[in-house]
């Protein structure tokens, strides 16, 4: 059963699954990771990664760009998700370091297996990257019932997906957020904290509450 609060507390709930600790266990440092992504974005100097090697960073960047691609609107790349994840893996997400290291190695070995002659995921064309990810997804994940909880036992790719979405949609206020607020712009969330009705299309011309026509009969 889904409970009123638990489902909204998806992140705390994720703590039930060991690997979902990625987002849930150490949120405070997530703030720091997001701030880090901002700073990385703002500084013109070459970025010094804290967890990833430069080569790994290229792969993570390519992967997260397939999760939330850049098309006619900004994606994970423009939101600085890579830097967010790099910071996370030396702070609150450090428990996932091995998962990332192993996952990257496994992924790289899958590349030439499917596309002989190509060594790196990042060297594939986007369509090929998607094709490979679909293959891995089909092999690895079972269709779990969709509930308002994250499933435990996340794979590397599932952990990366949660991290990418978090880095993309995190509250941009007070320097915490997705770079330039691109995530919230995409979903259409205005950053203001006070609104006046009408809020949306359907309450625009609302004439005021009237009892249901049948009400009189029902007594």
């Amino acid at each position: 059963m889904i409970n009123e609060l638990s489902r909204r507390r998806f992140l705390s709930q994720a703590g039930i699954g060991v690997s979902a600790a990625w987002v849930s266990a150490h949120w405070p440092e997530m703030v720091s990771a997001a701030t880090h992504a901002h700073q990385a974005a703002q500084s013109g100097a070459a970025y010094k990664f804290e967890f990833f090697t430069p080569a790994e960073a290229v792969e993570i960047d390519a992967l997260s760009a397939r999760i939330i691609p850049t098309d006619d609107t900004p994606g994970a790349r423009e939101a600085g998700v890579l830097y967010f994840i790099d910071r996370a893996l030396v702070t609150f997400g450090s428990g996932d370091q091995q998962k990332y290291r192993d996952g990257l190695v496994e992924l790289q070995s899958a590349v030439p297996a499917k596309f002989p002659g190509v060594e790196k995921f990042s060297a594939l064309a986007p369509e090929q990257q998607d094709e490979l990810l679909h293959t891995i997804e089909t092999n690895q994940t079972e269709k779990a019932p969709r509930r308002r909880r994250l499933n435990s036992g996340q794979t590397f790719l599932e952990a990366l997906r949660v991290a990418t979405i978090s880095g993309f949609l995190i509250d941009p206020e007070a320097d915490l957020g997705n770079r330039g607020g691109v995530g919230w712009k995409l979903i259409g969330r205005e950053p203001a904290h006070s609104f006046q009705p009408p809020f949306g299309y359907y309450d625009k011309d609302y004439p005021g509450w009237q009892p249901a026509p049948k009400m009189a009969d029902k007594g």
Partner: protein, 555 residues
């Protein structure tokens, strides 16, 4: 915003020590201090105020700014008493001054007559411990009215043909309608149902020291920075503090109620912020720690006189008969933007199915439907997209971008039948950060609870169809393993053998020990317990005041 308070010494025998500052504790503090008594409120969480609240998802949802912390206070869960419990987060409750009333949705439904007399009406239900309350709706009606006027509830009296009788209208009009509310209302009326403006404990008009709702949208799970949400902090505790007789003592984690040789409570032992233990002496103890922590505290207070836990000698039901409220959620996507992230959670509800004919539907129970949206952005992306949406890639992104402003939910809130096996108890192995036994939850829904959830959810799907949703789906209806509403674990009753407190909220076994919170419930209601917790608290305050003034408590 904090008001000067008296500082009592722990050795001062105050009139009442109240454990917990939430929906019930806050109101009892206000009423008893107003009535001239000296009161100390011990709250395990910090004293946070409007200035400390934030819209930051990370701090609130991730760091448990306002709620119990799974690392400091780990819990375990099992389905039946035969199972070995596994460590998992089993419940959430408010853990700051004001308790859960700080971050709740603020849906404020009164119970109806049926909630007090359902057993008498439908008879015994196999596998359920369904009994009637020792009080009736009419006994609580004046106190429901008191809650609405003193705490601040927005709503429209007479709007629902299913409403129980009321002595006064609401003190202020309903909150504005949201797009989800308009969609819900039109579709429900098309189906011949009776939607109406949701009664909410959120101000539609300002009150002294409190703003009307600004429609910020960070409502459920968040504290209100403008005092519009009627938490017990802004609506009751501030009044208590002004009497000059009430001390709110935060960061005070009560772990034991001490008794004397006569078997009477002498005070509450608690850890302060530095984990030093103190004993606050009092003439009487009132536990308002919620439906999980209240029974836990009684069980932890076991001694030679009360080997099964305090106030548990006669009945042995402390912690048992837990009810969580059944329910279901369906989501719908619409053509145009609702922007339902603005505002508050709920603007329209319906009670057509509050009382179902058990003979006709084949189960005992009923419930209400509400129209809402309350997902935070990351949560929405992870959990609120249609199940056939790709999990990543441009199609995922497109659906996310399209749906966030166009999605709403129909939430079915329903009954839970009490079962003696469903309980909060002390975990035999796991300890919290203070070395105290962790809470262990045992829970398996009665089959009727799942049936009522399914039945109501079918109505919710009909409604979304009638509303013209371009897409609709539901979360699976499965047995609950996580508790938000914590009800029934120290139930009220006339018979000391089957209940823990009498209708004055006095424990049958300890004369100067009172319990008032969700644990007092005999039935679950239809999913919105806080209004009734507060009405019970106002009523308990009257009963306890009368007993104290007649010298009956100390006699």
């Amino acid at each position: 915003m904090k008001v000067e308070q008296p500082k009592y010494k722990t050795s001062d025998e105050v009139d009442f020590v109240i454990i917990g500052s939430g929906a019930a504790g806050g109101i009892l503090a206000k009423e008893l201090s107003t009535n001239g008594f000296r009161v100390v409120v011990l709250e395990q969480g910090p004293y946070l105020t409007e200035a400390d609240y934030t819209h930051n998802e990370i701090k609130v949802l991730g760091e448990d700014l306002l709620t119990n912390h799974p690392k400091l206070q780990p819990t375990t869960f099992r389905k039946t008493p035969q199972d070995k419990a596994k460590q998992q987060r089993a419940l959430v409750y408010g853990r700051s001054v004001g308790g859960t009333s700080v971050h709740f949705t603020a849906n404020f439904w009164r119970f109806h007559e049926i909630d007090f007399i359902e057993r008498g009406k439908v008879g015994a239900i196999p596998g359920a411990n369904l009994v009637d309350w020792p009080i009736r709706y009419a006994d609580l009606e004046p106190y429901y009215t008191k809650v609405e006027w003193e705490i601040g509830v927005s709503g429209l009296a007479g709007a629902s043909p299913f409403d129980p009788p009321r002595s006064k209208p609401y003190p202020m009009p309903p909150l504005p309608v949201k797009s989800s509310g308009v969609i819900f209302e039109r579709a429900a009326q098309k189906l011949g149902w009776n939607p109406f403006p949701a009664p909410m404990a959120i101000l539609s008009q300002p009150r002294p020291g409190r703003s009307a709702c600004m429609n910020c949208g960070f409502c459920l799970s968040f504290g209100c920075e403008v005092g519009a949400k009627s938490s017990s902090l802004v609506a009751a505790i501030r009044v208590a503090e002004k009497t000059g007789r009430c001390e709110i003592r935060p960061d005070s984690y009560v772990h034991r109620i001490e008794t004397d040789a006569r078997g009477r409570a002498i005070g509450a032992a608690y850890f302060n912020k530095d984990k030093n233990t103190h004993l606050q002496k009092a003439k009487a103890v009132i536990v308002c720690a919620n439906g999980a922590e209240t029974p836990r505290l009684l069980l932890m207070s076991a001694n030679a006189q009360f080997p099964n836990g305090l106030a548990n000698n006669s009945s042995g039901v402390v912690g048992k008969n837990l009810m969580l409220n059944s329910g279901a959620i369906s989501l719908g996507v619409f053509e145009h933007p609702l922007n339902d992230y603005k505002g508050f959670a709920v603007s329209r509800i319906l009670h057509d199915f509050y009382e179902l004919d058990a003979q006709k539907v084949g189960f005992c129970g009923g419930g209400g439907l509400d129209a809402r949206f309350d997902a935070t952005p990351i949560g929405f992306a992870l959990n609120s997209l249609p199940p056939d949406t790709p999990k990543w890639g441009s199609a995922f992104k497109k659906t996310l971008a399209q749906n966030y402003t166009r999605t709403m939910e129909v939430f079915s809130h329903a009954t839970s039948l009490a079962r003696e096996d469903n309980s909060f108890s002390l975990d035999p192995d796991l300890k919290d950060a203070w070395g105290l036994p962790a809470l262990r939850m045992t829970y398996k829904d009665h089959p009727d609870d799942l049936k009522v959830a399914k039945w109501l959810n079918d109505r919710a799907l009909e409604l979304l169809d009638a509303a013209g949703a371009t897409k609709k789906w539901s979360y699976p209806i499965v047995e609950q393993e996580f508790a938000v509403h914590l009800l029934g674990t120290c139930r009220m009753g006339a018979d000391p053998k089957t209940s823990v407190i009498n209708s004055d909220h006095r424990t049958h076994d300890v004369k100067n020990l009172f319990l008032c919170d969700g644990s007092s419930f005999v039935t679950s209601g239809r999913g919105q317990p806080t209004m009734t917790i507060e009405a019970l608290a106002f009523r308990a305050a009257d009963r306890i005041t009368a007993l104290a003034k007649s010298g009956e408590i100390s006699a």
